[in-house]
Assembly symmetry: C2
Homo-oligomer: 365 residues x 2
């Protein structure tokens, strides 16, 4: 059973779907891995590393024409032409509804397994790419904030004077927010965090941060542990109640996203105006409109003296580990997709497992 | 007594010699502060902040023509023309011997006080700008390393797999090295450190790092707590003994500088070749040739798969706090330069205080 790993073609994407370590594990199980020349270079994995792990180095089109293709991002229309009819394609699909790439794939009867659709059940936790990548985004966002902030995050006492710890506020306490709290705490910042799901309070406090508790009149707890959208009235109440807390912040890492919906506005322009000069906002929701309307996707801009960072792909900025964790997710997924019969790998019926059933992007969806 | 603060003119320099807080203290003591319009903007201090603290906002030339001019960097030749005859100029002078700027200043009988020449005595500790700025460089260098390293620095255990803590080696355990150790430890890295001065072992261990102990046949402890240059034989022994330790490192922060001498080579090209792809070297000695011959000053380059970072002005990358600490040094210095007689500030004889005596850059030096 051949697995093809093509180099990512999306602009600026440095990740690769399998690392040499993952190749070694999958080869050991009986898969044949065909990886495109240079596919791992941007993530610091060389062709020699892959070859030594048991992969065959191939051209772009050969990698795409395998029976199973694994990828970080979805292919472009040109790449779909190289996919084999009736093959399986595993990647993030980056869409809620449908689009022309997915339609083109479906016309070739490609089974599209979307890494975003892995159900939030405990058996699938080790395959949850959204979590593995969000964890990296949360860490990397704090490093970026520290790099753009003109001051220390920790308390600094020296003979020339002292600096107070930075006041860092984390908005949205999902996987990214939790890792951002942990990283800002490691760096010695004074950390506050807010989430519309009241059950996060304990998690916030267990990481040594202070929970910001607001009464917005309704709960934002949605299905599967995700946040749900608030009513307009509750949103307005939330913005007003947050304003004072946020205007005191020196660094804000904001991570509030709602699946398939624009990100909620949590930081208004009026709040940005009130923040101290040189403060930093890292808006992890920049790709879906941002939690601050002043954020510009994939740019660093300064407005009202505040530095707004809108990078939309932090995992790609830490490509070795983001690839390693993604490859771990893919490997765990591939493991439940096959059986070994008489020493041969046999593909299971993907409709019969709750996980691979849920992952399929079908025409009617 | 007027103090002029001109905006820095050196390329990329974001610091400012006085902050609004420092202005407030000095105004309270009786100094009149004249600061150039926009002098603090790059460090996130506005003219309004300075005005509110008691400063008068003036033009470039007016700031330079005050009786005492305080600056981060030394002036350029054009700026020297604006200095008043017989005035006092306080700044880093960035030279060991003499140069045409200092000569031009001396022709106008300007008293040149060099912040690098503050003696290493305990009474002068609060004025020690080399220490205050090195402390910032050590912290910021680790943040930069974390931003360029494609992996986590801390141990990371997740359902998708785990990542070991990064192996970070700090070379040179002065002020910058100690802060680099502390910051890398905060971020959860596995930290090793080396210095030619054997007395640093205890300091290294007190910060939770492991001391690399090598026998190079002689001690590198020099005057005033600084390192001295080793003999050629000892240098060769040091390079060889360090090679194995360094080639295992994922991140190296190297800070070994010898006053007024080229930086010693600690990381040879052969070591860089042995390091893992994607490893990071931050060479804080880049301005004086680097501790690694592959470093390029003020550039980030990748050689043999290793990312070499050669920024020469990390304090300027954290301009609010570096300015605040530098301004603290300047304020403490100004305090010992004056007496108050009948409510009036009177300049003391600068030759009569050990500190201001040592700081003067005289023609014969």
């Amino acid at each position: 059973m051949k697995i093809g790993v093509a180099k990512e073609s999306a602009a600026g994407e440095k990740r690769v779907a399998l690392t040499p370590d993952a190749v070694k594990k999958l080869s050991g199980k009986g898969f044949e891995i065909q990886i495109e020349e240079g596919a791992g270079l941007a993530a610091h994995f060389t062709d020699e590393n892959y070859h030594a792990a048991g992969a065959v180095i191939v051209e772009h089109k050969t990698a795409l024409s395998a029976g199973i293709v694994v990828r970080v991002r979805k292919p472009d229309l040109e790449e779909v032409k190289a996919l084999a009819n009736d093959s399986i394609h595993i990647s993030l699909t980056e869409t809620c509804g449908d689009d022309e790439v997915l339609s083109a794939m479906r016309k070739k009867n490609v089974t599209i397994l979307s890494m975003e659709r892995i159900p939030r059940i405990s058996r699938a936790q080790s395959m949850d790419a959204l979590s593995s990548q969000s964890n990296i985004a949360g860490y990397r966002a704090v490093i970026d904030a520290a790099a753009h902030y003109g001051r220390f995050l920790p308390l600094m006492m020296t003979s020339a004077g002292s600096a107070k710890p930075a006041r860092v506020v984390i908005l949205g306490v999902g996987v990214a927010g939790l890792q951002a709290i942990a990283t800002a705490r490691r760096l010695g910042a004074d950390v506050y965090a807010y989430d519309i799901r009241p059950e996060t309070k304990e998690q916030i406090e267990s990481l040594g941060a202070k929970a910001i508790v607001l009464d917005v009149g309704e709960s934002g707890s949605g299905e599967g542990g995700y946040a749900k959208e608030l009513s307009d009235e509750a949103k307005a109440r939330q913005q007003a109640a947050l304003a004072d807390e946020l205007s005191k912040a020196h660094v804000i890492i904001t991570t509030a996203m709602i699946p398939c919906r624009p990100a909620p506005t949590l930081i208004t322009e009026a709040v940005v105006e009130r923040m101290r000069e040189g403060s930093v906002i890292v808006d992890l929701a920049a790709a879906t409109g941002g939690n601050c309307p002043l954020t510009e996707a994939d740019k660093v801009v300064t407005k009202h003296g505040v530095i707004l960072i809108g990078h939309t792909n932090y995992p790609s900025m830490m490509p070795s580990d983001s690839s390693a964790f993604y490859a771990g997710n893919i490997t765990n997924l591939l493991n439940i997709m096959v059986d070994t019969t008489d020493g041969e790998l046999v593909l299971k019926n993907l409709d019969e497992d709750e996980i691979t059933e849920a992952m399929q992007v079908r025409a009617e969806s």
